[in-house]
Amino acid sequence: MSLLELEGINTGYGDFQALFDVSLVVEEGETFGVLGANGAGKSTLLKTVAGLLRSPSGQVRFEGKPIEHLPAQKRVTLGISLVPEGRRVFPSLTVHENLQVGAHGRRRGPWDLDRVYDVFPLLVKLKSKQASYLSGGEQQALAIGRALMSNPRLLLIDEVSLGLAPVVIRDLYEALGEVTGSGMTVVLVEQDIRQIMEVADRVSCLLEGRVVLEGPPRELTRGQITAAYFGVR
């Protein structure tokens, strides 16, 4: 049984449809990458899994059980956690408080404040700083840490590298390595192809709301990816 299965998802906003008949399977323990240009429907995909958006048709199954009827807050207690696009830390709360809020669901597991501070040591000295004053990279670390606090089985991360300097991205991916190394299942959405090809066990590329390419990174050629990414032939 796969950890996450999507079958025939068609999510949209109002009358605007962003995903067209998307089906995916994510296995326990793997790192799954989702590629695509801006507007390809990557964030919509993650939001559908996390429960912020609903697909009018199709199924979302987690550990074999259909979950599409559950609201986002219930899916967190099942072990699905999303690091949203644009990080969305709580600006008026301190770093420490942000992490505490992350554990609101009181799900048991290996992750707690100490362990998050271990993985992201840069957060320790920022503990009592208000999150709105953090730099982009610090906010991203906080957002990931906050999601880990809920002890997820499936961690969804939307654009780790968005708007960050290469050095910061490298550090973040290093920290992420520790997370994936602990056996956690991760779905990574990225525009930055190189990073994702390095860390993902399998990738899937979205173009205009449809899955156009899927497979392990080493089996895909550069040309294939470029074509799928830009839609040029």
Binding site: A72, V76, V89, F90, S92
Partner: protein, 265 residues
């Protein structure tokens, strides 16, 4: 020395203003809802107190032990079963719904209690005063009002900053969607906020009821009272009333963030 007296009385009365404003701004801060039935719900609290005093024959201040939890439950259910549904879509719906509620409460009270003006008798404390010398005197009751108001605001503050639930309130206020991703049920948080806010205004309603008389129709005047407090707090700085309201009760940093949220939305 009369002006000193006036100032003292004013400061003491300010406590009541602050309670009304706190309720209004707590609800607005957490869910961007302006409750037009705010004043009527506070009067409802005063009448609930009146009934309990009649049945149990206790001091109205003591009856608060029962009144406040009751009003809290009313607020919780009101939000959960009704107002939450109006938060989707345009901002006209919660206004119209709370306005309808205001009419229902006013006339419900009128049916139950007639239009006569009522008062709550708190015994000796109402008239006793503390002499400060030099012809100055401070009534015990106004003093108690101020102390209670400060206490409520301090307690609310530490609830918001120190507890798990309080953090969930602030997280929801900052970003409702991100809060849901942390497993926070926003519908529950909204309902709790409404319950707490109504508890606070009911408290204000009871103190007001001891201070002066009240009738079923006085609610709207109390809403305006709250609104004035919200506006007065910030005249000269800006017209953003929610920010202004938070000067009364909320930590500054929450205030600054809700302003940001308000502007960006």
């Amino acid at each position: 020395m009369t002006w000193v007296n006036v100032v003292i009385q004013g400061v003491l009365l300010g406590g009541l203003y602050a309670l009304y404003a706190t309720g209004l701004s707590l609800v607005f801060g957490v869910m961007r809802l302006v409750n037009l039935a705010h004043g009527d719900l506070s009067i409802m609290g005063a009448f609930a107190c009146l009934v309990l005093v009649g049945i149990l024959d206790v001091n109205p201040l003591l009856s608060l032990v029962l009144v406040l939890p009751m009003i809290f439950v009313v607020g919780y259910l009101l939000q959960r079963l009704m107002l939450n549904f109006t938060l989707k879509g345009d901002d006209m719906r919660p206004l119209l719904a709370t306005f309808g509620l205001s009419v229902i409460i006013q006339n419900g009270l009128l049916v139950g209690f007639s239009a006569d003006s009522r008062g709550l008798d708190a015994g000796w404390i109402e008239n006793a005063s503390l002499s400060l010398g030099g012809g100055l005197a401070v009534g015990w009751f106004p003093l108690l009002t101020l102390v209670v108001a400060i206490l409520v605001i301090v307690l609310l503050n530490s609830f918001l900053t120190r507890t798990r639930l309080g953090r969930a309130f602030r997280a929801t206020s900052d970003d409702q969607e991100a809060a849901r991703l942390m497993g926070i049920d926003n519908r529950h948080i909204y309902a709790l906020a409404m319950g707490i806010a109504l508890g606070i205004v009911a408290l204000a309603g009871v103190f007001m009821g001891i201070r002066t008389t009240f009738t079923p129709g006085i609610g709207p005047a109390r809403l305006i009272f709250a609104f004035e407090a919200v506006i007065m707090g910030g005249l000269g700085s800006s017209w953003g009333p929610w920010r202004v309201a938070s000067h009364w009760a909320w930590p500054r940093r929450w205030a600054s963030s809700s302003r940001r949220a308000g502007e960006s939305s």
